[in-house]
Symmetry: C2
Subunit: 207 residues, 2 copies
DNA sequence: GTTTAAATTAAACGACCGTTTAATTTCGTT
DNA sequence: AACGAAATTAAACGGTCGTTTAATTTAAAC
């Protein structure tokens, strides 16, 4: 499914509004007004509001873990270095696509019902497989400890990153970063989050 | 504000539905039908849908950190033991009030706007103060390392716990806990989460 | 038993919702 | 210039929304 310029415009506006006000909290009229198109264009291009949401997920998910296999196959790095690259790229991804990941959290709260729920379940299983493989590699090399709860590891990575993203205002206030520009804050946070996750993952993976 | 039996009935039904389908995704008609009362009763008792949400927060928040001061003041335990008790009781709380904490996550996504946003900000600041105090106590005793990002610590505790709660289905599948009863699963998870947070917090607090 | 305030009800209100229709415009192809 | 498919539009559709109204029932106080 290739999208023209106007379709992408609608998609991105809808993504932002769904992230801020939720699916039910956003009206087609709002989306079309903000995107500068007629109300009927949404149905015309996407069929329905539900299908619009699905289109957002297809638009984002298909480019999600691009290039991961290359990292995993790299024999010049050990499992721990690969792991650091992996969660580093995860941090970049969610920082780059904040709106989408807010929608993901909302969809998580709805459970795994609907076609979007199935998509997310697939992605999660794929990510679990990747991380599991990497952990096994590290264990076989005698680098990581023998018993590691990979699911809890993902939950930790995703949970901490999401929560930090949601509580931006609070974290800025508490950490005296209120006067930073958004760009500078994002950069600073990526660094802090990366160091933090590295600390946490060390305690999970090593003896 | 003291609530009669019927008001509490409405509150609890609304809490469940808001958690599952969100604020905008839940109608007054649904709430009143499920609670077995007339539609007009919600406006009659609470004024409006918004005020109903506020009432839910007052209902839950007021009993939130009950008994914490006693733990902190206990001189027979060191800071690390108190810390373990503290996040242990946090785990109990969110497990006990799952629905409410799903609403909290939804409200987080809306930012800190509105009267509910202010309430949550207050609670967060209070919790931050409590944890900060405890960390300082541990540092002065030479137990914890001198530089600790308390905000990141809270984010870790809350983020991991929430994420694990949201991904119950996924975690059950991946960890082969699908056939457990809800009760047994909850118990097992509280144990795993407690151990996990202990591991993580050790890496944050100790050298 | 009468009074009075609280509780409860069915019905109606106007507003907004997602979607469809049918007419019109746009624009590349012939 | 004429055609036809795609794009765009204003208007209307039936339905649901949160809230209010006005009438009725309930139940406690006197």
């Amino acid at each position: 499914m290739d999208l023209n310029e106007k379709q992408i415009q609608i998609l991105q506006v809808a993504e932002k509004l769904f992230a801020h006000h939720g699916f039910e909290g956003t009206s087609i009229r709002e989306i079309s007004r903000e995107a500068g198109v007629n109300i009927a264009m949404v149905s015309y291009y996407f069929g329905s509001k539900e299908k619009l949401m699905e289109a957002i997920f297809h638009y984002r998910v298909n480019t999600a873990w691009f290039g991961v296999q290359e990292i995993l196959g790299d024999t010049s790095r050990d499992a721990w270095e690969k792991m650091k690259i992996l969660f580093g790229s995860f941090i970049e991804k969610i920082n780059e696509k904040k709106y989408f990941h807010q929608i993901v959290v909302r969809q998580q709260l709805l459970g795994e019902a609907g076609p979007v729920g199935e998509m997310m379940d697939e992605v999660r299983c794929r990510n679990f497989g990747i991380l599991e493989q990497l952990v096994k590699e590290g264990q076989q090399a005698g680098l990581f400890k023998p018993e590691v709860d990979v699911a809890l590891m993902i939950v930790t990575m995703v949970g901490v990153s999401y929560q930090l993203m949601h509580l931006e205002h609070f974290y800025r206030k508490i950490s005296h970063l209120e006067n930073m520009t958004q760009e500078a804050y994002d950069t600073e946070l990526r660094i802090r989050l990366k160091n933090h996750l590295e600390t946490l993952f060390k305690s999970i993976l090593f003896k």
